[in-house]
Amino acid sequence: MKRLLFVLALFAVAWTSSCGGGSSTVVTPPPTGGFNNGSLTGTYVFSMTGSTFDTAVQTVDSFSRVGIFSADGKGGISTTAGVEDVHQFGADNIFSITGGSYVVNADGRGTLSLITSGGTVQYSIALVSSTTGYMVDMISGDLETASGSFVLQTATTLSTGTYVFDFAGIDPASGNPLSIIGDFIPDGAGSFSSGSFEDINNGGTIFTKASIAGGSYVADSNNPGTGRGTAVIGNSNYVYYVIDSQHVELMDRDPDAVVGGTNLGEAAAQQAGTPTETSSFASSSFVFVTAGTGLQQLTPLARAGRLTASGANLSAILLDNNNAGLEIAVPSSGVLNAGTVTLDGDGSGRGTFTFTDTVSNTGTYTFVFYLSSASQGVIQDVSTVMVNGAPVPVDVADGTLLAQTGAPFASSALATAYAFNWSGVSTAEEDFVGAFKTAGTNPNGLVDYNEFGAGKQFLNTPFNGVITIGGDGTGSTGQHSSFAAALTGSPAVTINYFAYIANPSTILVMGTGSNRVIVGVLNAQTQ
């Protein structure tokens, strides 16, 4: 036994050395903070999506995973309480989680190993708090990478009421990139009430506000107490895991007909006070990030923006684009001060943003959104370009819409520590998870990342950064807010972001480099 432990210790040292950046000059700062193994206690719903290598057909596909694991607060994973659904290589499979282990460091970062009936997966994690955090699939070699999150489960029954949802990924039927946002209303009797709608962008074919009333949902009697169930929403079959009375994770479980992949998303209960009339908007500012696929060449595309709604009018509009490394700011300087916002006013939370670039004449931009509260929603890009006289969608992309509160921001308002998750594409998919101390405007921390290749899983990589705060981020009251992260080690990687600050606790970021398209979120840590 002692010999075994010694060998394991040597292996651990070698692993840390080889994956910590590869340079002997790199000094890893000791993690500080108040997290420990006890910070991860209870049952958590987790979900992720990423890239996987299908050795059978020698292709890279997307895949998704959703499930629950139970942490004992002491570094152990329950051998009986976990289950997961994995949509990979053409089908949805359910696996029992039969054990595992985890370590939470003082800075909230750590590792999580889940043993399942389908194999063991190693994750790097970063806790935002004891109730939520981010995770990246760190399977070594060429097999897969993925980004996701986990949230403490406090309920196992799907509540009634209106939920706003966002599903993104691949349409199992067509193989097209897919975005679906909308609202559904569980009626408590296994069906969805009238007033349930979805907006779909399926590979550039757009369906606007299609009714999804009817359908079905049912708890899984074979896995009682897990919150697992199945649902038919629109034309798709989903598996779901209830997180709490306000949130549920869903994954399409239809078999893949063309290429591997599925769509994954989350639904959030709509809160009282969600605006129904544009008169509710009184200098109400929002930030958003959409991410997905540009349809010109089926390459990655991201957009991030901010705007202010006053009644039905938009002002202080700024939109950044990164289309496969091609960056375009709209407008090219300053901000746009003309645009419109609509709200359907039917309780769905649905509305639109539309604005035209009158400065650089790059065209008109349109986004559909569904609000789950006055401060949060989901957003889908439905902008088009004219091709041979007909409008053609630019991309299939969706993301997060957040109210901006507390602006203009100052560096002194930033939290002392953040956990983060970035996901992007360079030579292949890449996923980052970590935490940093703000240290004024010169953050420093540690990051684990997976660049989807043999020897491309990097652990405990130190990074230093610079945060530049630009007022409310419009360029009118201040410069663009930005965040630069310089990862040391080998290879050294510097990622530059535009930062769209919703509030000091939540910052959305979009990469500005021409060699990668990357987006992410920074969340203030609370212990």
């Binding site: 979900s47 890239s51 290598f53 292709t59 890279v60 997307s62 981010y134 980004s147 999150s149 949230v151 993104a168 994770e249 989350e266 990030v289 959409t290 991410a291 997905g292 696929t293 010109q296 060449q297 089926l298 390459t299 990655p300 595309l301 991201a302 289309n323 496969a324 490394g325 091609l326 375009i328 670039d357 650089s360 790059t362 065209g363 008109t364 088009t384 370009v385 004219m386 091709v387 041979n388 006289g389 409008p391 053609v392 630019v394 969706d398 956990a419 970035w422 996901s423 594409v425 030579t427 292949a428 998919e429 989807f452 290749g453 021409s514 060699n515 398209v517 987006v519 979120v521 969340n523």
Partner: protein
């Protein structure tokens, strides 16, 4: 020679389209700006031949992905060869001095244009990096992290 002439004609056409507006810079424009070269059209495909000057798996020149610079009779041409991951997994290698035969076409991208490869041949090696719609194979979408709150 015939194919190369077609390439030049394609370049001229793209130059005209690019000068009129870019892909991203033409959202719902009501004016009839020519955009045909912003999207791949297999009927315009041609063959480019030349020797490799350099290969970059993670290019800083958009569009994102792998690029190869080849020396042609018309001078150096930058070619977007799609996903570096795909080339790696197919075992397709490119070295300086290799003679490549590339089927593809010039498409406009932003304010510039690029030769978008669909099929790359290097000696007996051949790899398809785009489908006939011009869509890059095995290039994943970027996904917005969500869930944590």
């Amino acid at each position: 020679m015939k194919l190369n002439i077609r390439l030049c004609l394609g370049c001229i056409a793209v130059a005209g389209a690019v000068s009129a507006g870019s892909f991203l810079g033409a959202q719902q424009q009501s004016s009839a700006v020519p955009q045909s070269n912003a999207f791949y059209d297999s009927s315009r495909e041609t063959v480019l031949q030349g020797k490799v000057i350099s290969y970059t798996a993670e290019s800083t020149v958009p569009p994102i992905g792998a690029h190869v610079s080849i020396q042609t009779v018309y001078g150096p041409v930058d070619v977007h060869v799609g996903s570096a991951k795909l080339l790696e997994q197919k075992g397709f290698t490119v070295a300086t001095g290799d003679s490549l035969r590339i089927t593809g076409e010039v498409i406009s991208f932003g304010q510039s244009s690029t030769f978008a490869a669909r099929i790359i041949e290097n000696g007996t090696q051949s790899v398809t990096v785009r489908n006939t719609k011009g869509q890059v194979l095995e290039m994943p979408a970027v996904r917005m992290p969500r869930g944590a709150r």
